[in-house]
């Protein structure tokens, strides 16, 4: 049975790679997907960053305490399907980091029915900036699912190739936007247009359904990746912005 799972996984992976025009997952060249940026490539430098263990960047309540946000960096993840998403290839060649945001409700409010359920349908975008080079990598985080960590918004990143090694570290800014509403022009597969029911209308302000995006800002260094602080202690960097009184959103960028 396990063998059947592996076979199915391999078949899925093969189909995915074939669809992306690649013969082998790790043999893809940059032209496998034209949307993968190719800036900053340095053939003489190490191909990947070393991530000793998952590095928790932020672990805080947001949205007035109704949701717990956990932003973490991990080694790049393999993915079965699909490989190509809005914003580019999910597993680009030489991906070296996996940026993941877990959003779990803390109580049965604002559309949640049970504490701990995943806050779905949101639109999440990340910007990683190298402080030495002043380059910025902008990517959407897509909903992903796996056994170990369940559902998260996440994406593989090519920090080494796209931004280069930054001795001063990197700033990370993650913006969480409300779902697209039904009838909006900017719906997408992972946010296809929600309908709000009468009993929630007017109560969105200050929640993840509100018009104001919730922003998490933090930073990390190469040393943090090599020797991450203990998990649960929050971010290695200090979230900027701070809680906004009355706004209900833990980290709203100014």
């Amino acid at each position: 049975m396990i063998g059947r799972h592996l076979w199915a996984t391999a078949a899925l992976l093969g189909a995915t790679l074939a669809a992306a025009g690649c013969d082998d997952e790790f043999a893809c060249q940059d032209d496998c997907d034209a949307s993968v940026p190719d800036a900053g490539r340095d053939a003489g430098a190490p191909a990947t960053l070393v991530v000793a263990a998952p590095l928790v960047l932020v672990e805080r309540p947001i949205a007035g305490g109704s949701v717990t946000a956990r932003l973490v960096l991990e080694p790049a993840h393999g993915v079965d399907a699909p490989a190509t998403l809005p914003g580019g290839f999910f597993l680009p060649p030489a991906a070296d980091l996996f940026l993941a945001l877990d959003l779990r409700s803390t109580s049965a409010v604002v559309g949640a029915r049970v504490p701990g359920e995943f806050a779905a349908w949101l639109r999440v975008d990340a910007v990683v900036t190298g402080l030495d080079q002043h380059g910025a990598l902008r990517v959407p985080l897509s909903p992903v699912v796996g056994i170990a960590d369940g559902m998260r918004y996440a994406r593989n990143l090519r920090i080494r190739e796209d931004l280069g090694l930054s001795g001063a570290g990197y700033d990370v800014r993650v913006a969480i936007r409300r779902p697209a509403w039904a009838g909006d022009p900017d719906t997408e597969a992972s946010s296809p247009g929600l309908v709000r029911e009468a009993d929630i209308l007017g109560g969105e302000t200050g929640t993840l359904l509100g018009e104001v995006a919730t922003t998490l800002t933090t930073h990390f260094t190469l040393e943090d990746l090599a020797t991450p602080p203990s998990a649960g202690g929050g971010a290695p960097g200090t979230p900027s912005g701070g809680a906004t009184a009355g706004g209900g959103q833990g980290y709203i960028a100014p």
Partner: protein
């Protein structure tokens, strides 16, 4: 349950509600206002891992209003809501029990059963909805077919089919749930196939009985541990959480061997320790014996519900709820194979003209719940008969399909595993078919392939059919034994 050996359990609850609202959406003049939500289905599928609750309510003040899947202010008869949630924690990567299942395309097909033809059908995708009370659901206002009619929809009976397909752009991590029907489904997964009326309020069983769900969860752990080569842990789990119940449920009669089969499989003692290559025979024996345990347990709860109706209606209701869960555990392995046979034809197994399990199962338990609430013994007896018949239908189909597979098997190990599967399901029917030991064991117990001929296997099926038709099933509910004649390795 049927796939307990090859995938993690997932409980899904689907609820469809048409609930009261602020009446901001224009109600069709033909439609009578619904004074209260009508729950038209509450089922566990697929594989018992998700709960689907389907409710119909009066038109509501949504923003924006969606009618038959389209944003707009068209007139609607009611609102259809589907709650799709996990039935146990940690399933499908979705967190706690009761967590909604996002990123699905939920498709509805509604047929007016008094208006066959194109005018009598509407199809559309439900939209994700969010509300304070309802949470995250899939819903749409609906104008029921025929949409051009002026007749009150409350006067018609409808068939509602709901399917789910994962969103096409959801990345699955490499460790992600290899066989999850939620995330890996290559074809739409049938959630609900039910008849519904918007008229009289219908009663459903209460929320599934926790003690019965715990038994199903334990059985999954036993299977999972054994599959993972942790036989000692599997035995400990079985002894601690399942064995007393299995022994208490084991039917009296010539083949009281459910517990013995499980113990032998867990010990790897089938055929004096020879489980065959990859332990296939032990796996099949374990899987089949656990299913037999749930079949026996379901029958016992049906007995208990009927016996308690006159004197202790609450006890009858509780037993009926337990029977509902145990039925799902016993039948879950067949939902996929049989329902897909209905939808698209079976992949290499003998077809059944009437292969559906889910819809008649929900109907039987709905009828039984109503009978208990109303205290009507004959109605409960009829519902009990229908529910029991479904267990036998699945066992007979499994015997047929496994015999088919065994006859067509190439390698001997595959043959032995399929033969054991056929045998264990045939044994589940012993008490109704009538002591077929000579036929069944004379054919299905033989590890010699020469003794397992299409003719011999057809004899087993013929004896089953004679015992089940017409008391329990129709001819169309059972395999035609002659189909095995053309099967060759």
């Amino acid at each position: 349950m049927h796939t307990r050996l090859c995938r993690r359990p997932i409980a899904v609850v689907i609820t469809v509600l048409l609930g009261p609202g602020a009446h901001a959406a224009p109600r069709s003049p033909r439609a009578t206002a619904l004074p209260a939500p009508v729950t038209v289905a509450q089922v566990l599928a697929p594989g018992g891992t998700l709960r689907t609750v389907v409710t119909v309510t009066d038109v509501a003040a949504d923003h924006p209003v969606v009618v038959n899947g389209v944003v707009g202010e068209a007139e609607a008869d009611a609102k259809l809501r589907v709650l799709l949630e996990t039935a146990a924690p940690g399933l499908h990567g979705l967190g706690p029990a009761g967590a909604p299942v996002p990123y699905q395309r939920v498709h509805a097909r509604i047929e007016n059963l008094q208006h066959p033809g194109p005018d009598g059908v509407v199809e559309f995708d439900l939209r994700p909805h969010v509300g304070t009370r309802a949470g995250n659901t899939y819903a749409s206002h609906v104008r029921l077919p025929p949409v051009a009619s002026s007749g009150d929809p409350a006067g018609y009976e409808y068939r509602l089919l709901l399917t789910a397909t994962p969103a096409p752009e959801l990345p699955l991590l490499a460790d992600a749930l290899p066989a999850s029907p939620v995330w890996r489904a290559a074809a739409p997964v049938l959630l609900v196939d039910v008849r519904m009326r918007l008229g009289p309020l219908q009663h459903l069983p209460r929320r599934p009985a926790p003690e019965a769900l715990a038994l199903a969860a334990s059985a999954d752990r036993v299977s999972g541990l054994f599959l993972a080569d942790q036989a000692a842990a599997a035995r400990d789990e079985y002894r601690a959480n399942l064995r007393p119940w299995v022994r208490a449920s084991e039917p009296a009669g010539p083949w009281t061997d459910v517990d013995a089969g499980i113990v032998a499989a867990l010990a790897g003692q089938v055929h004096r320790g020879d489980c065959g290559a990859q332990r296939g025979e032990c796996l099949r024996l374990l899987e089949g014996s656990l299913l037999r345990a749930f079949l026996a347990g379901a029958l016992r709860e049906l007995d208990a519900a009927q016996a308690a109706l006159a004197t202790a209606p609450d006890d009858a209701s509780a037993a009926w709820d337990r029977a509902y869960v145990l039925h799902h555990a016993a039948l879950a392995p067949f939902h996929g194979a049989m329902e897909q046979a209905c939808l698209a034809g079976p992949p290499g197994a003998p077809p059944l003209p009437t292969c559906a399990l889910l819809a008649p199962l929900e109907r039987a338990f709905l009828d039984g719940a109503n009978a208990i609430l109303d205290g009507v013994a004959p109605a409960l007896g009829a519902a009990r008969h229908a529910a029991e018949a479904l267990l036998y239908k699945a066992a007979a189909y499994a015997t047929c399909a496994a015999s088919w597979d065994a006859l067509g098997a190439g390698a001997d190990a595959a043959f032995q595993a399929d033969r054991v599967r056929a045998r264990i399901h045939a044994r589940a029917l012993a008490h109704v078919v009538g002591a077929p030991a000579d036929t069944v064991d004379g054919v299905l117990a033989a590890r010699d392939r020469a003794a397992f001929t299409p003719t011999a296997a057809a004899r087993v099926l013929a004896q089953q059919r004679a015992g089940l038709v017409p008391t329990w099933l129709s001819q169309d509910d059972t395999c035609d034994p002659t189909v095995l004649a053309g099967v060759t390795p």
